[in-house]
């Protein structure tokens, strides 16, 4: 074979290999970015119990997968209160005030009275500052319409409300399914009291549960007999023609594999968009606007 021919062939092979490699690299990078985004979203705030007297609680962020373990050893889901920061601020303020030159305070003194420059040492903050935390543990069970067997974890929003006031809002509560498709979640830092509780998941209408009485200690509520209704794909808490049309825009084959774009429409989470999912939605769509609980 002539050298020039060999070189030509090699050049072409290198070119094709380079294009293929480049495409693969871009795709891999995008996969990594997507995975990083995915992991980033699945972090939760936890107030971590350190066991230290001087600094008993610290704010940390943990993976949702590790949440249960943290809660077991006494951590609390959510933010730590900012009392310690306020204590530090007060200390600084008192120190500054002590530096000021003492004045007569507007009082006319007799000639034989002398103002003494006295330095005041503010009382030290006791090292054993006690934090009062809510000691409720709230376990709840819910069901999603169309899911009747074990499926992957889901994320729900849970709101505790009194009257019109939303007192506690948890936007990303991880719920885990059992073998019958009943999902369990746990929340541990809710102040005791009587609430309305609103639960919403992606693709489902919001459900309200009333007269929920939270006492200190363990509280268990099984709401699985009243499933969340399927069909709210644009998260406006209304099932209407627009939700139906959004589903049908992805329903372009008898069986449509789930991907990043159409995952919310896979209501029974079997990794396919098909007529079963559509039937679930149309079964609920019996009025022009079906509103979820509010």
């Amino acid at each position: 074979m002539k050298l020039t021919s060999l070189i030509s062939i090699a050049a072409v092979m290198i070119l094709m290999g380079g294009v293929f490699f480049g495409v693969t690299l871009v795709q891999t990078e995008q996969d990594i970015r997507n995975k990083a985004d995915e992991l980033k979203e699945h972090k939760v705030n936890v107030c971590h119990k350190t066991g230290s007297d001087s600094n008993p609680w610290v704010q940390i962020e943990v993976s949702e997968n590790a949440l249960e373990a943290h809660l077991t050893h006494g951590d609390i889901q959510g933010n730590c209160p900012s009392q310690k920061k306020n204590d530090d601020k007060d200390k600084e303020k008192e120190k500054d005030e002590a530096k000021d030159t003492p004045s007569t305070g507007g009082v006319t003194l007799a000639s034989n009275v002398t103002v003494v420059n006295q330095t005041f040492t503010p009382a030290a903050v006791t090292p054993e500052t006690k934090y009062v935390y809510i000691t409720t543990k709230f376990d709840f069970w819910i069901k999603f319409q169309g899911i009747d067997e074990r499926r992957p974890d889901k994320i729900v929003r849970v709101i505790f409300r009194k009257g019109e006031e939303e007192l506690h809002v948890y936007n990303k509560v991880v719920v885990t399914s059992d073998s019958k498709g009943i999902y369990r979640g746990t929340i541990t830092d809710v102040r005791p009291g009587v609430y309305e509780v609103l639960v919403k998941g992606d693709g489902f209408l919001q459900k309200k549960f009333v007269n929920i009485n939270l006492a200190r200690g363990a509280n268990r509520y099984d709401w699985s007999k009243d499933p969340l209704l399927a069909g709210d794909f644009n998260s406006d808490n209304i099932l209407d023609a627009r939700d139906v049309s959004e589903f049908l825009s992805f329903y372009t084959d008898e069986i449509n594999p789930v991907n990043g774009d159409n995952k919310v429409f896979d209501l029974d989470m079997n990794n396919f968009l098909n007529s079963t999912d559509l039937d679930l939605v149309l079964g609920n769509y019996n009025q022009l606007k079906l509103e979820g609980d509010n």
């Binding site: 074979m1 002539k2 021919s5 030509s8 062939i9 072409v12 094709m16 209407d240 023609a241 627009r242 139906v244 049309s245 959004e246 049908l248 825009s249 329903y251 372009t252 084959d253 008898e254 007529s275 559509l278 149309l282 769509y285 019996n286 009025q287 022009l288 606007k289």
Partner: protein, 193 residues
């Protein structure tokens, strides 16, 4: 022999590359054309018409017609349409919703031609009388391609008793709930206002 053979091999490689390029290019052109067609098709091409016809027994038949474009080049495939039709009259006391036999009715009659295709479902269907007649209806085309037509086709109908003068009827669609959604562009309502 070797010279001819190697020249032939080079030629083959170049032909393969050209062919690959042609295929890729044609796919890109097709995709560009598709996107351009989406942009060219105006969003407000869908249309609805209501026709009143005399029926037996002194009844008035109200038929809702629809189309998804005004001509074959200007037509959009749809997946879902719904409407709320309000009917009022100067003589509401006499007006009532009935079936073709004059008996009280609470639903519209969906078009048989659409039903017979097996592709349509009508999940919302009710007619009631309050201070006016309110007819709620939704039609869903479950086919993979959607439905399109540049001619008016009947969608649903109902009957009224006690109309008197047809000109006394006032009909209007509720804008919020009267929609016609594109199959390809699901958030686009093509119902012409």
């Amino acid at each position: 022999m070797s010279l001819k053979y190697h020249s032939g091999l080079n030629r083959t490689f170049f032909i393969v590359i050209i062919l690959v390029g042609l295929v890729a290019g044609s796919m890109l052109i097709k995709r560009t054309y598709y996107l351009a067609s989406l942009a060219l098709t105006p969003s407000s091409v869908g249309d609805v018409d209501v026709r009143l016809d005399d029926a037996s027994g002194g009844l008035t038949k109200v038929t809702i017609y629809f189309r998804t474009g005004t001509n074959d080049e200007n037509t959009e495939a749809i997946s879902t349409t719904s409407f709320r039709l309000n009917v009022s009259s100067d003589n509401m006391r006499e007006l009532s919703v009935v079936d073709q036999d004059g008996n009280d009715a609470s639903t519209l009659v969906s078009e048989k031609e659409l039903e017979s295709t097996g592709q349509w479902k009508f999940p919302v269907n009710s007619v009631k009388k309050e201070d006016k007649i309110i007819a709620d209806f939704a039609a869903v085309d479950e086919s993979l391609e959607g439905y399109s037509s540049s001619e008016y086709k009947p969608l649903a109908s109902f009957y009224l008793k006690g109309v008197g003068n047809k000109n006394s009827l006032q009909l209007g669609f509720d804008k919020d709930t009267s929609v016609m959604y594109s199959k390809r562009r699901p958030v686009t309502d093509i119902w012409e206002e």
